[in-house]
Amino acid sequence: MLKKRIIPTFLFRNNRLVKGVNFSNYRDIGEPKSNIKIFNSQNTDEIIFINIDKKKNIDSLCAILKDASKYCFMPLTAGGGIRSLSDIKRLLVSGADKVSINSKILEDINFLKKSSTEFGCQCIIVGIDVKKINGKYRVMKNYGKTIYKTSLEDYIKICKDYGAGEFFINNIDRDGTRNGYNLNLAKKIESFTDLPIIFTGGANNFNDLYQLFNCTKNTAAGCMSLFCFGDNSPIRARSYLRNRNINVKQK
């Protein structure tokens, strides 16, 4: 049986890893390479690396990946600032296994089709920032500043048709708040698609992971504050979940 995934998501800015609250107020949490080493040594299921540098320089992300992938024997997803097929190619060549694309697909849905045809659907993760506005969950662009025209449900379905492999859902309202996942939103998203989902925003403790896994089927738990502001590790998270009969990786 397929295991439930716990996926630390790193944000990368000015050559450092940072963590914010509601997509702002970023705090420094360390250096990329040593963090990858630590999470690799803890047999982490998978990691995500998103470049949030204002300049969105693919070169700096590639340089970090080239170095960090030497210590990374787990799947690595990279994203942030992807504008072209050659950007994707460069990230993959630098050591990424999958890429996460957000803005470029909002601007041009055909870019999703092109990239999934070129690199395979399984390689392309569609990143979506979601915020509740006037009682409705909306797709957001520009770092959560502008509402996107299409509804969340339609957008997810369109992306599936255009070749999305997975969805990486960022719940802006909960990002960095440590108030737990928005389980209603997680369930709603799963009702829109059968594709694997990485759901992130709000995880504070192992029980939050448990709650998410307990009410979803194909959803992986994305998290960061949980691991970087405390002495929690993926190993402890998995043993907590195993004791509660959640099917996570054994080792």
Binding site: K3, D45, F73, P75, V93, G165, Q250
Partner: protein
């Protein structure tokens, strides 16, 4: 020396890093004559079956790989495993390397219910394969695919995994090996498997 086939359809870096970690000398095989220098060959690969075969054809590597496989060990990883088959149906029906009889078809019966097998899954061994030496039963590996290998003969299936149904997770025929999962991305267990392959004597 372990050759890693680079035909423009794979994350070569991850595999090189993995071999570096287990201290196995390796080099990139780009053209036919590079094959003479290696004692074993690893075929990585991500993307589509059709595109992979097209690239191999362009590089005039199909025949040489088949000749190589008659004498020396070969390990196909993910798409590299799938193209060992007779033919694949990704994008369009395409003839494969035909090293292990079987076909590669979509995991989903109808296009409307497209899904991928993504994540860690445990595998069950069917045979005492050399590549699983000292690897515990029910070990977990990382999978990332939406097509799968259907072997003509069960004898060539060395392990399987459960994803909605029983799917082939590795194939084997003589010194030809194929794994659907990514050993280079499966922590220590995956590195152990690569080490086992590198140490096979024939």
């Amino acid at each position: 020396m372990i050759g890693i086939l680079d035909y423009g359809a794979g994350n070569i870096r991850s595999l090189r890093n993995a071999l570096l970690k287990i201290k196995q000398k390796n080099f990139i095989v780009k053209v036919k004559k590079d094959l003479d220098k290696c004692s074993k060959l690893i075929i990585p690969g991500v993307g589509s079956y059709f595109r992979a075969i097209t690239k191999l054809k362009k590089k005039k590597l199909i025949h040489s790989i088949k000749e190589f496989a008659k004498k020396k060990p070969v390990l196909g990883i993910c798409l590299g495993m799938q193209i060992l088959s007779k033919f694949g149906f990704e994008e369009k029906k395409t003839n494969g390397l035909n090293l292990i009889d079987g076909k590669v078809i979509s995991l989903y019966p109808h296009p409307s219910e497209r899904f991928s097998h993504v994540g860690w899954n445990e595998i069950q061994f069917k045979t005492n394969s050399k590549i699983f030496k000292n690897i515990k039963k029910s070990s977990e590996f990382y999978f990332l695919h939406s097509f799968h290998f259907v072997a003509k003969s069960k004898k060539n299936v060395s392990s399987y995994a459960i994803f909605k149904k029983k799917i082939v997770s590795s194939v084997e025929k003589g010194y030809i090996y194929g794994v659907q999962f990514h050993p280079e991305k499966s922590h220590e267990t995956g590195l152990k498997l690569l080490d086992n392959f590198c140490k096979i004597k024939c």
